[in-house]
Amino acid sequence: MLFPLRLLRPTTVAEASGELARLGERARLYAGGAELLPLLRHRLIEADCLIDIKPIPSLNRIAWDGSRVRIGAAVTHRRLETAPVTRERLPLLASAESQVANIRVRNQGTLGGNLCFNDPHSDPATALLVHEATVAVAGAGGERRMALGDFLVGMYATALGPDEILVEVEVPPLPPGWGGAYLRVHRFQRPTVGVAAAAKLRDRRLEGARLAVGCVGPKAQRLGELEARVQGLPGTEAARVIGEAKGYLRGLLQPVDDLLGSADYKLHITSVLLGRALSQALESNVTGSG
């Protein structure tokens, strides 16, 4: 049973933001509810008002603007998994979205809700970091944009101000000639480890590589130092370097022992998956067109 709730259904971002500012923490933005309703049910957060943002038309759009796919915050995982524009231009993201939870959660849960909740055990952020996505947030002070990596502050924490709403996620395709892969290990509904890799070979050496890990640390993160270390190496040599990078991964991600596995287990799986994702990225020629 949920406590009694009141409902607001604004039709513009300005209305939603105004109500959020007026009602404060007693009101929560509500999109799919996949993350919010369990928290309310288990009394982990207190709120007595839902601000349903799904009636805001702009938040439901997926559009290609010539250089990026612009995804409204209320677009569901299932739409991202199946929409032609994501499958063609962002196959790495579509693949990650196809692995989120189960078909029911994907039908209901939204990308915006997932990113704003910022549960460390989640798939989309990891794939989006490799795409170098940016987000647009709007509030009383107007609209601002930032890199997704800056939006994801820490475990369950984002850069959103009290009256701000995540409006849109802007996702550029991988550069021409790059391949990508998203791989995960899960024993329960949420992933234990999720990794994304994107890379391009030139003369059999890595011209560039982007690597990201989710679930192991408090938030999804890019592995900038490891990316720099493997640049210029042949693929097999890069896989060896990744396999030997557990110390770096431990320092950056600071994994903990929990029900999903020991810290050592998670680090082992992370380096194995990173190696596999990199080799799949190099084999894949479905990079999406820029």
Binding site: M1, L2, F3, P4, L5, R6, L7, L8, P10, T12, A14, E15, G18, E19, R22, G33, A34, L37, P38, R41, C49, L50, R78, A101, N102, I103, R104, V105, N107, Q108, F188, Q189
Partner: protein
């Protein structure tokens, strides 16, 4: 600036349930599961994990599988809800129901309505799924008795008969 909006505590809901129209007021916080089981006494849809993990409460809203436990009833406004009670046509069981009976696609039966409704959504979208596609689609429907092989066999058999009603 934007004026204050009126909040609402109840929702004037109008929808169809298993083909029949229903309208009335529901509290905002009423889940579709509570609406179906407690208000309409449609108890075929089961309550179990209440966290969108187990699939026992799977129903279809506009042909899409959702967890009734984690879905507010007002969201189905204007839509069409299909539950296990609406699958048969009179005494004619849906091909999925027939196949589950023939293949003994259940043991204790508690998860079965959810398994069948999840399978219904799959067959509406993909009438001839492979066994792998069935396993992937139903990975979120848990059977603690472990009847998975018979469940998959039932769905494969039903799919070969073509779509149900």
């Amino acid at each position: 600036m934007v004026g204050e909006m009126e909040t609402q505590r109840t929702f004037d809901l109008a929808l169809t349930i298993n083909g029949k129209p229903w309208s009335g007021k529901v509290p905002v916080e009423e889940t579709l599961l509570e609406f179906l089981r407690d208000r309409l006494r449609l108890t075929g849809t089961k309550r179990s994990c209440e966290s969108q993990v187990c699939g026992a409460c799977t129903v279809l809203v506009d042909d899409q599988a959702i967890s009734a436990c984690g879905y507010l009833a007002f969201e189905a406004h204007g839509g069409s809800v299909l539950t296990i009670e609406g699958l048969a046509s009179g005494n004619d069981l849906d091909p999925l129901q027939q196949a589950f009976i023939r293949n003994v696609g259940s043991q204790c039966g508690y998860c079965t309505p959810g398994q069948i409704m999840a399978a219904k959504a799959l067959l509406l979208e993909n009438p001839t799924p492979t066994r792998e596609e069935i396993a992937e689609w139903l990975s979120g429907n848990i059977c603690r008795c472990g009847a998975y092989p018979a469940i998959a066999a039932s769905i494969l058999e039903a799919s070969r008969q073509g779509p149900g009603r």
